[in-house]
Amino acid sequence: METAQNNEKSNFFRWLAASWKKNSFFSTVCALLVMIVLQTIALGFNYPSFGEWFAAWGKNWINILRNNAGVGIVALGMTFVIISGGIDLAVGSTMVAIGAVMMLLIDGNANGVLSAIGITGVPAYLIAIIAGIGVGVLLGECSGLLIAHRGMPPFIATLGMMKICRSVTQQCMQKISPSVPKGFLAIANTRIGGEIILPILYWLLIAAILYAVSKHTAFGRQVFAIGSNERTSKLSGVNVKKVKRRVYALMGGLVAITAMIQIARIGSMDYANAGSGYEMDAIAAVIIGGTSMSGGKGSIIGTVVGMLILAVMNNLLNLIGVPPFLREAFKGVIVIAAVLLQKQESTN
């Protein structure tokens, strides 16, 4: 009886070790689970009843997810970009540019472009959102054009876009400070079941859509194909330039949605600092999620898990009182550890 139990135990561990070695995504999920357990312990059980503990635990989770929904959406787009063999450094800056356009359109006061011609309220918000997505797609197309048609390395093209977008936005907006009308705030702050969870729902909805796109559409599969072998893809009739342009345009559109959530959530935008570091956090989430930096391999689910690891870890470090300056170092360690694991998998 005892030996049987032992056997079962060793079988379980053998299975664990084998799965760990064979599949880096498995180890990533394990890492997330471990981190969730630690975070739960750190949160403590010092509550009068299970109900109250559960409420506090849930609230903490909602906070984590809500705070990371914006970057999470950017990371979803970044997954496509990296799978296609590229990179997009411009996301933080384009978000600011898109944000400025949206703010100018929705402002109900003197600064508002639409209110000046008599459009206010919901129609103005709709126009602003559509225009914002339009600007995002357009900026993405610019990067895409440089990369696909001019053969520029994605790093350089998007570095240029990054500098241009933030700088021009700051210059244009230095004397104008549009305000966000109350109605627009509802986009992110409407309470559902007493909690502010709309940003989380947007994130999950987009993740679900992009998962389907990545697995079940010609475009999605072509992104994988060109990331793995551009020449073969071209010789199989894939319009490589068009697909690449669309990948960056999609990224731009998603950045616009993040900008919308950001504005609606906070009610303002800091053109100098908002979104800075988004590109690196998004890339980190994508890499931790098992997407290959050289393209051709990766998944949307992986990126969601990668984002959760970063988010839960940040929360955990916060709970146990690690000073904020040090927290970035942990992010670095996680990224390096993730890539080491993937390396091991590919050599196996």
Partner: protein
């Protein structure tokens, strides 16, 4: 320095590559080393260059026995090996390339640029070359790069230079330029082994020839005493056409017509017609421009001059997407780089061309995708595990069939195959030939590009031979034999 290689044997596993081969070279002599691919030329020269060790036999330099275990030992003995891919760094100056790895230094440890430049100038003078050692290699044309490699060999006091197909990437005037340098070297007593497929060049520059076939030395003698057609026969042995084709009466209307197609520097003024129901071969040596010609026809390369007619309609090819819509299919050469997507599954590799067509309401119709793939899998006898396994789990032959499968689902009018049996074992080769013939019988215009004469003879109704970017001749029926193809391909 006189070189003698006696009774050299070398085998890889059970494969005897060299069987008791003798080779010799006198001072100030240019000797051609001839043979088909796989005849053992490279192995023999790699033994001389210290890259490989012989199983048996000896190497004598001026009567003294040497054995070379590393390329460095061979170089020290005065033997330089210039490979087909040049070993130069484009972004460094000529003189820096000359001394790379053995730079001259001042006592202080800093580089002695002045002396390196002066030494390089001295060698250039000896060769009557008028170029500055400070020129960047990038700025040189292909012949000068070749010459820089030769002079580097001289700088290392080489008495014997092995050149592996030195002219494949050169134009005619450039070749002449390199040849004049070789003549100068011959006068100065340097011995040169000249490996080439181009018999016309051999006749022009070489004194003597040695022909290898299947690891045996089959013939040697003075170049002045043979003709190119005799050399071609020595290389291939005898003429064989193993399969009589009953496609001769199957030829239908003209399907693909090219008129004066040109894209410098790859090919010029190409006119040809491929008919429905025939297998048209296009052959020649490496670098003859046939691959570039047909990837241009497929719309993968962009601009060209001249005209392309498809079923009598004038078309302008600018993308592969468009070519596919018009019913052209293209199986490229170098399967690994151009044919398969290694991170994707067998199913996806076999259907990648059809994704846009298989899209229904924005999403891929996976059921239809599987159904179509299954049909091709049965038709082509593809042996495979699960369709969601990665493509690299298959053998070369089955991978190639997957590449074929992705095209056949599109029911092409014109099927272009570049080196269709590269890296495919003998059994699968025959199967692929059968597939090609069956498609032609069904009315597809099939075009097979290959440098293997046997392959052309086996499957093609007729074949065009290309040389240096132009069509030099056509063979069919009685005239289609290895000998005739080899003679045309070498420019004769």
């Amino acid at each position: 320095m006189k070189l003698e290689m006696k009774n050299i044997c070398k085998s890889f596993g059970s494969n005897d590559v060299l069987k008791h081969v003798d080779f010799h070279l006198n001072e100030g002599e240019i000797c051609a080393l001839l043979g088909e691919n796989g005849a053992g030329k490279s192995t023999l020269m790699n033994i001389l260059g210290g890259v490989l060790e012989a199983d048996q036999g000896e190497i004598l330099l001026d009567g003294k026995v040497h054995s070379f275990r590393t390329p460095l030992q061979s170089l020290d003995a005065g033997i330089a090996f210039i490979h087909q891919e040049l070993n130069l760094i484009n972004d460094l100056a000529i003189y820096e390339n000359m001394y790379i790895g053995r730079e001259l230094k001042k006592p202080s440890g800093l580089l002695d640029h002045r002396r390196m430049i002066a030494e390089t100038e001295k060698v250039f003078e000896r060769m009557a070359l008028d170029i500055s050692p400070k020129t960047l290699v990038r700025e040189l044309d292909a012949s000068y790069k070749q010459i820089v490699e030769i002079t580097r060999a001289l700088l290392m006091n080489a008495k014997l230079i092995i050149m592996d197909e030195p002219t494949t990437s050169l134009t005619d005037p450039e070749i002449e330029h390199v040849f004049s340098i070789l003549r100068t070297l011959r006068q100065q007593g340097v011995g040169i082994v000249f490996i080439s497929h181009k018999l016309r060049e051999v006749m022009e520059i070489c004194d003597r020839y040695t022909v290898l076939r299947d690891g045996n030395m089959v013939s040697e003698g003075m170049v002045s005493e043979v003709t190119t057609s005799e050399l071609a026969r020595f290389m291939v042995g005898h003429d064989v056409r193993s399969d009589a084709l009953d496609l001769e009466n199957n030829r239908g209307d003209a399907c693909l017509q090219l008129k004066g197609l040109t894209r410098e520097p790859y090919f010029r003024d190409i006119s040809l017609t491929a008919h429905k129901g025939e297998v048209l071969g296009v052959t020649g040596l490496l670098g003859d421009g046939r691959s570039e010609l047909f990837s241009t026809v497929f719309g993968a390369e962009g601009s060209y001059t001249g005209e392309i007619d498809l079923d009598g309609q004038r078309v302008r090819m600018h993308s592969t997407e468009q070519a596919i819509k018009m019913g052209i299919a293209y199986v490229p050469r170098n399967r690994k780089e151009n044919g398969i997507i290694k991170d994707m599954t067998i199913l996806e590799n076999g259907t990648v061309v059809s994704w846009p067509r298989l899209t229904k309401y924005l999403f891929l119709d996976h059921k239809k995708q599987k159904r179509e793939f299954e049909k091709q899998k049965l038709a082509l006898h593809i042996k495979m595990g699960a369709e969601n396994d990665v493509i690299t789990s298959l053998s070369g032959g089955n991978q190639q069939k997957i590449v074929l499968a992705k095209w056949l689902s599109e029911n092409p009018k014109v099927l272009i195959l570049d080196n269709p049996t590269q890296g495919v074992d003998v059994g699968a080769k025959e199967e692929i030939y059968d597939i090609i013939l069956a498609l032609a019988k069904a009315g597809v215009a099939v075009i097979v590009l290959s440098s293997e004469a046997q392959e052309i003879i086996r499957v093609c109704t007729r074949a065009l031979v290309m040389y240096h970017g132009g069509i030099i001749g056509e063979v069919s029926g009685e005239t289609m034999n290895e000998h005739a193809i080899m003679r045309l391909a070498t420019g004769g």
